[in-house]
């Protein structure tokens, strides 16, 4: 078996004295889409923060493509091919669409290529390129955020709660985009509370609760045990 693109080994992390991650073990194989599911407060978003370098872990190891990335900062990782779309509207509201796209070129792709890719995927963004990102609708903002995943040509993509605050129709559209990105060979770890939507596009799934990964498996297996986990049966 080849080296997984992401491997977390016994990762612990805490906010002050409150320990949130209590020994997380998780693997994302190269080219796979892994859905990370689980109830509120299970530590999913914290795990993404640790992986993306926004938060320091207290112990444990994170390997990316076999390399231990201990102590790497968020911007270093971003330039090395990790793209993180945090939860909420991860765009700069007071910059125009085009300026948002310009900043995406920090990840290492030339600005012209960023514009081309983004506008060909989302023609709507081209129409609105001189508009302030904060004045667009929620779905359009999430489109702009997803444009970063498309344009920066990542080795690993972390998605946090794409569906937050969006209409189901738009969520479906966004996950179609995720599926497209996955087809191009990008490995994806996506955190989601709406299990069914995420399981549709994923190859594997993991369930987190109480700061640990309590179950992993194929999407259909996980789908069956989800209700138990969330209602407290399997934990």
């Amino acid at each position: 078996m080849s080296v997984p693109i992401l491997e977390c080994v016994d990762v612990h992390a805490a906010y002050g004295r409150i320990e949130v991650l209590r020994g997380v073990d998780l693997k994302v194989p190269r080219g796979a889409v892994v859905a990370l599911l689980g109830p509120n407060g299970g530590g999913k978003s914290t795990l993404l923060k640790v992986i993306s370098g926004q938060m320091e872990k207290t112990s444990g190891h994170v390997h990316m493509a076999g390399v231990n990335v201990h102590g790497a900062s968020a911007d270093d990782l971003a330039r090395l091919g990790l793209t993180t779309i945090p939860e909420g509207r991860s765009v700069f509201p007071n910059l125009t669409v085009e300026e948002n796209l310009l900043l995406m070129s920090y990840a290492g792709v030339a600005p012209d290529k960023v514009f081309d890719t983004a506008y060909s995927y989302f023609p709507r963004l081209h129409e609105r390129r001189y508009q302030l990102a904060g004045t667009m609708s929620g779905g359009e903002q999430q489109m702009l955020a997803m444009a970063r995943a498309l344009t920066s040509d990542p080795a690993l993509l972390l998605l946090d709660e794409l569906s937050m605050g969006l209409a189901p129709l738009i969520v479906d559209e966004l996950y179609e985009t995720v599926a497209k990105i996955a087809e191009s060979g990008v490995s994806i770890l996506c955190v989601e509370q709406f299990a069914r939507t995420a399981l549709r596009v994923s190859d594997y799934a993991a369930v987190m609760t109480g700061g640990r990964v309590v179950a992993t498996g194929e999407p259909n297996e996980i789908n069956e045990i989800m209700a138990d986990v969330i209602l407290g049966g399997a934990a």
Binding site: P86, S90, L102, L103, M104, Y106, R148
Partner: protein, 670 residues
């Protein structure tokens, strides 16, 4: 007509220089959310440095300019960003104000230390070549300034909207964490902003120095003009900042030119100097309401709040100590104790305003001055006169706070700064206050017919006032009002949604704080017998703020310690205090101290309050191990080593409920 054109030319020149300084301020504020009060002081230091290079050391002008603007200023800017202001953008606005005020004090100290007071002058560029345009004479200095300001505007436009790093600068204001995820380095972005901003401050200082003169304070106060201009663009919009700067420059020039035609102009000689302050108030009234900021909840570990009983015991102890001192000390020393009590009361007003309310006032001594003038002018040396003086100060405080009712705490602080300057230059020097450098006489207070005449008794009385106000402050903190204050400090949005009208809470808070300061001023007037306007100059308010920030603005003990500290600084003979040659050094130390400590609003007291828990938590178990027979009360001090991320304060408050004794220790030390 010719005169009008001449005034216009001068106005455009002044406006252009203001615009350069203001754009630097806007650049640093809009990229890092740190409002740099020291912006003017930075410009002042670099104007002196430029003088040093070009006049004292005789380097060619072009080389001096390159050295100052191209090397020293940007490096200083990067240093400031890396060492002093990093991370302040996300801190409460009070922390960034205190730190930059400390920086101002430090920079003034540095300038005095390196370039002791002396007559210096910078020549204008090409002073012999004047250009005659019809009846108007234009100097090269003016033309150069205007051209440079246009170049600066163009340069900033290109930087901010045509380059990626400029775009990143604007992005990092909104969300530096997201910029990291994009792969941008927000530290480099912030460092660049500070480098450019510092260079622009230096450029503004150098261009204005030949006109204003190489003066520590005049150049430092340039920041008021700069931020008055920047205010038109709400501190973020550069084109509007230029408009504001031009309007201010022209207005100031016309006022200077045409003041003689206004009836009663001889009483308004200070008017041109306070134009920026008036301009600022006008804009504050016109600015739209600031949106409530959400997601601002930042837990602060607050200082312990003693119970009323305990505070009363220690307050009583303090009074007893002062009574003993009054019996044994010389009058001149007692005067110092009384002065310390005055400072203490002014600092208590800051505990209320800054420590509990989270607002910063940069002109607390000015309110004390209002109280002193009211008390002296009323000539009613009794409790009634005192009360009226307090009410007048409170009313003035409310007047200052009213225009900024709808705006954030930063604007309130800036309004107090403008107010302090206004009072300094116009009101305190006018005939109905001190007149110019004229001492004002005041009588000692009498309470219900009993005259408090001797200095000893008067000092005791002032201490009693200090203790009483401390008790009131502590009682307010423990009561429902205190909860409201803490709640508004932590999250205005949450209070708004609960139906609390925070605007009036703010005005009431500010007015009562000004009233307490006014009380201190009135008592000081009675103590001294004669007061002069210099007792209440604006710069003293900054020193006061720095001192109280060092000792901790969240506790009564911090105020007491800060007051003693400030009194010692001002009046201790010899090495410190009035000694001209060391005063600069003193300012440097003070400033550096406040920069180091001022970030934590609990100040040094934060550490002092921990001592008992260290002793009980660390030393007692060791002793108990060694000497099993010792009956030591080992308490669970789990709260003792808690870190700063603990949200809220119940833990903090209860862990060190009983440490008010610092008060009496301090007095014993004295």
């Amino acid at each position: 007509m010719g005169a009008f054109l001449s005034y216009t030319v001068i106005g455009i020149f002044t406006g252009a220089a203001y615009a350069i300084a203001a754009s630097g301020l806007v650049l640093t504020y809009s990229t890092t959310r740190v409002f740099n009060i020291a912006h003017g002081a930075v410009g002042m230091v670099f104007a002196f440095l430029y003088w040093d290079f070009s006049v004292k050391q005789g380097l060619p002008v072009w080389l001096s300019l390159i050295l100052v603007l191209g090397v020293c200023a940007p490096l200083t800017g990067v240093f400031i960003q890396r060492v002093i202001t990093r991370g302040l953008g996300n801190a409460p606005v009070g922390a960034s104000l205190v730190v930059t005020v400390a920086m101002t004090v430090m920079l003034i100290g540095i300038a005095r230390q390196i370039w002791p007071p002396d007559a210096r002058s910078l020549e204008q560029y090409f002073p012999d070549h004047l250009i005659h345009m019809g009846s108007v004479i234009v100097t090269w200095q003016q033309i150069i300034t205007v051209v440079v300001s246009i170049l600066v505007a163009a340069g900033l436009y290109v930087l901010l909207s045509r380059t990626r790093i400029g775009t990143a600068m604007r992005a990092s204001v909104d969300n530096p964490d997201l910029l990291h995820l994009y792969g941008g380095r927000s530290d480099i972005v912030a460092a660049l902003a500070w480098a450019v901003g510092t260079s622009l401050a230096a450029l503004g200082g150098i261009l204005l120095a030949p006109v204003i003169g190489l003066q520590y304070f005049d150049l430092t106060l340039l920041v008021i003009s700069a931020y008055a201009a920047a205010m038109l663009g709400k501190l973020t919009n550069l084109p509007l900042t230029y408009v504001g700067a031009m309007g201010l420059g022209l207005g100031q020039s016309y006022i200077v030119g045409y003041l003689q035609y206004i009836p009663g102009h001889d009483k308004l000689t200070g008017l041109p100097a306070v134009m920026p302050a008036l301009f600022l108030f006008a804009i504050l009234v016109l600015l739209p309401q600031a949106p409530l900021r959400i997601g601002q909840v930042k837990g602060l570990v607050s200082a312990p709040v003693p119970t009323l009983g305990r505070s009363a015991v220690f307050g009583g102890g303090l009074i007893v100590v002062v009574i003993l001192m009054a019996a044994g000390m010389a009058d001149s020393d007692l005067l110092l104790v009384g002065t310390a009590a005055t400072y203490g009361i002014v600092m208590l007003s800051l505990v209320l305003l800054t420590g509990y309310g989270g607002f910063v006032s940069l002109a607390q001594f000015t309110f004390a001055g209002v109280g002193a003038v009211a008390y002296a002018k009323l000539d009613q040396p009794n409790l009634f006169g005192l009360l009226v003086a307090v009410l007048i100060s409170a009313a003035v405080g409310a007047l200052v706070a009213l225009p900024v009712l709808r705006l954030t705490g930063l604007y309130l602080a800036l309004a107090t700064m403008a107010f302090g300057l206004l009072m300094d230059k116009v009101v305190f020097t006018s005939s109905w206050a001190f007149e110019f450098n004229n001492p004002l006489n005041a009588k000692r207070l009498s309470i219900f017919g009993t005259h408090v005449n001797s200095i000893g008794n008067y000092t005791i009385m002032m201490t009693v006032f200090f203790v009483l106000i401390s008790l009131v402050v502590v009682a307010v903190r423990r009561g429902p009002l205190g909860r409201i204050l803490i709640a508004t400090r932590d999250s205005q949005a949450a209070c708004g949604t609960l139906g609390l009208d925070i605007r009036w809470v703010r005005v009431a808070l500010f007015a009562s704080s000004a009233g307490v300061a006014g009380l201190a001023g009135a008592l000081l007037a009675g103590l001294r017998g004669t007061i002069v306007s210099n007792d209440f100059i604006f710069f003293n308010s900054l020193l006061l703020l720095v001192c109280v920030a060092i000792w901790g603005v969240t506790s009564v003990s911090g105020a007491a310690m800060g007051a003693i500290f400030l009194m010692l600084l001002n009046y201790l003979p010899g090495f410190l205090g009035k000694n001209e040659s060391t005063q600069g050094l003193l300012f440097i130390l003070l400033g550096a101290g406040a920069i180091l400590i001022g970030r934590n609003p609990n100040g040094l007291m934060f550490w002092v309050f921990k001592i008992p828990s260290w002793i009980q938590g660390g030393l007692f178990p060791v002793l108990a191990d060694r000497f099993p027979g010792m009956a030591l009360k080992v308490r669970d001090f789990a709260g003792g080593d808690r870190d700063d991320e603990v949200i809220g304060e119940p833990g903090g408050a209860h862990a060190h409920r009983d440490e008010e004794e610092v008060d009496s220790d301090a007095v014993a030390a004295r």
